[in-house]
């Protein structure tokens, strides 16, 4: 479980997040929605320690994450797949996975085999440079690289960006299955609100750094105002 409490972040004079509070329970997907510049990416970067907040705290279960280094937060089981996936293009598929396994315990071959089973296409391309993968394959690699260290929290930043609708649908399904199977806490940042709300249990809507809704995904989906003014979902 991730608990964000009264979090404020600013870049110089610009306030990016203003007193943001919400809870993301284990075994559920919490979608963070909002327009460009609403502060969604900043929120994830603050949770994983890349950005220091002005005030407020982030907790994972009983541990306070705020004030820790990114490298240590990751070791507490918080995996962050950044915007643009962050696959190292010059590395092979397997090297990317080996890098992801670095902080984990246990046997590397077993862990690799497990991921290749879950994402068979990665197994086929294990010796290929990540640069040669398609967008969807890269997203799978990024997910596999995050999961190989067996995290308990998964932060996903715009996983559907640049993917075809069919691929996005498959990806969303995979995220939902994973979340249920591993009892993960998933925080899913999405611009594509409709596909995110389809799999999420909870939803937080941000507007220029302020939480305007924090409710079940169903409630957010059915709120006509939110859909029109903040999510840009017009039927």
């Amino acid at each position: 479980m991730i608990v964000v409490d009264d979090l404020s972040v600013s870049y110089g004079a610009v306030r990016a997040l203003q007193s943001v509070s919400f809870e993301a329970p284990s075994g559920e997907i919490t979608a963070v929605l909002g327009a460009n510049g609403a502060g969604k990416t900043t929120l994830l970067r603050t949770i994983s320690g890349l950005v220091a907040p002005l005030s407020g705290t982030v907790r994972k279960d009983d541990e306070v994450l705020t004030g820790r280094k990114t490298e240590d937060i990751v070791r507490l089981g918080v995996a962050h797949v950044p915007e643009g996936r962050g696959v190292i293009a010059e590395f092979t598929v397997e090297e990317n996975l080996r890098l992801g396994f670095m902080i984990a315990q246990g046997s590397l071959p077993d862990a690799l085999a497990e991921q290749y089973e879950m994402f068979p296409v990665l197994g086929e391309r294990r010796r290929q440079a990540a640069a040669t993968l398609s967008g969807g394959e890269r997203q799978m690699l990024a997910m596999a690289r995050a999961l190989i260290a067996r995290p308990s929290v998964l932060l996903l930043d715009e996983p559907s960006l640049g993917l075809a609708p069919l691929v996005t649908a498959q990806l969303m399904q995979q995220i939902r299955d994973l979340c249920a199977k591993e009892s993960l806490t998933v925080v899913l940042v999405e611009q594509n609100a409709s596909s995110a709300l389809r799999i999420a249990q909870r939803a937080v809507v941000l507007r220029v750094g302020v939480v305007v809704a924090n409710d079940s995904a169903v409630a957010v989906r059915d709120d006509e105002n939110l859909r029109q003014y903040y999510l840009g979902m017009v039927e």
């Binding site: 890349l50 990114t70 962050g86 690289r145």
Partner: protein, 299 residues
């Protein structure tokens, strides 16, 4: 066969390889730092010389060569790490001339301090192998036991560095930290530690290089003894591509051979002019380096 091995051209190739491995090592240690921090370490030669003085001038002259070499390598590791922690760390994200100026300042300080402690006069190092060329049918072969040792040592150092980067967990993290620092942090790589380790490694490679250069009978160890070698190493790295370790090493070897021919057939003073000319031509034709695949650099 004997006549072939002692012929002028073969001699030039052999002699060229012996100096080429040195340029290749300098180029390699520059590339190691360039890839991770986008800085050209202008103090590389001075740092290497300083480490060599620690290994060979602080210890008693009778100290075993290999002990001194080991001390010099350790001194290189310490000096490189300390430089990154104390000086280089404050220069990340600054305009590109700031690190250049700072490293040139460090170069001047290190060379002056070395000269203040150990004087500017050349200090001959005892060599473990003879520097007298082998004879074949009473003709010299342009290859001495020392030259063989020099070539083998350099190749071993390059192989160790390559294996470290390619096959170890540390190497994986070093490469990742250089290519994508933020992503690496998100995967738990301690990037700032990797930068320190990169500088340590580079300076240790430099220390081996400086020991080899100074062991050479003709030069000996002097505070500014690596200035010229550094210039050739930079030219090799720039021609091969500052982003390409393999390119840097290959072009270092090639330059060594070319220079040997120029020195033999033209004039030893002409070598540096030829080197400058080659650098100019290569920067005009392939600005990102001969061995760099993508031309991503902005012109």
């Amino acid at each position: 066969m004997d006549a072939f091995l002692t012929s002028r051209n073969v001699s030039d190739v052999l002699g060229g390889l012996a100096s080429g491995v040195i340029y290749a090592l300098v180029a390699l240690s520059l590339v190691l730092i360039w890839r991770s921090t986008r800085m050209l370490n202008f103090a590389q030669g001075a740092m290497a010389v300083f480490a060599t003085y620690i290994g060979f001038a602080i210890l008693a002259p009778s100290t075993n060569y290999w002990v001194s070499m080991a001390v010099a390598i350790v001194a290189g590791l310490v000096l490189g790490g300390a430089t990154e922690r104390v000086l280089v760390r404050r220069l990340y994200g600054k305009p590109e001339i700031n690190p250049i100026v700072a490293m040139v300042g460090l170069l001047l300080v290190l060379e002056s301090v070395a000269a203040a402690i150990w004087s500017t006069s050349s200090r001959p190092l005892a060599t473990p192998f003879s520097i007298v060329d082998w004879q074949l049918n009473h003709k010299p072969m342009a290859l001495s036991p020392f030259a063989v040792y020099e070539i083998v040592t350099s190749l071993v150092v390059m192989a160790i560095v390559a294996a470290l980067f390619q096959y170890t967990k540390l190497g994986l993290q070093l490469r990742a930290a250089a290519l994508a620092p933020e992503v690496s942090r998100l995967l738990g790589v301690r990037v700032s530690r990797m930068l320190t380790i990169g500088w340590m490694l580079s300076t240790a490679v430099g220390a081996v290089t400086a020991v080899l250069v100074a062991s050479n009978f003709f030069t000996g160890l002097t505070p500014s003894g690596m200035d010229g070698v550094f210039a050739f190493g930079f030219i090799a790295a720039a021609i091969g591509g500052l982003d390409s370790p393999v390119g840097a090493m290959v072009s270092g070897l090639a330059l060594g051979v070319v220079f040997q021919f120029v020195g033999d057939y033209v004039n030893s003073n002409a070598i540096i002019l030829v080197a400058l000319g080659m650098l100019i031509v290569s920067l005009m034709v392939r600005p990102s380096g001969v061995f760099t695949r993508s031309a991503q650099r902005r012109v």
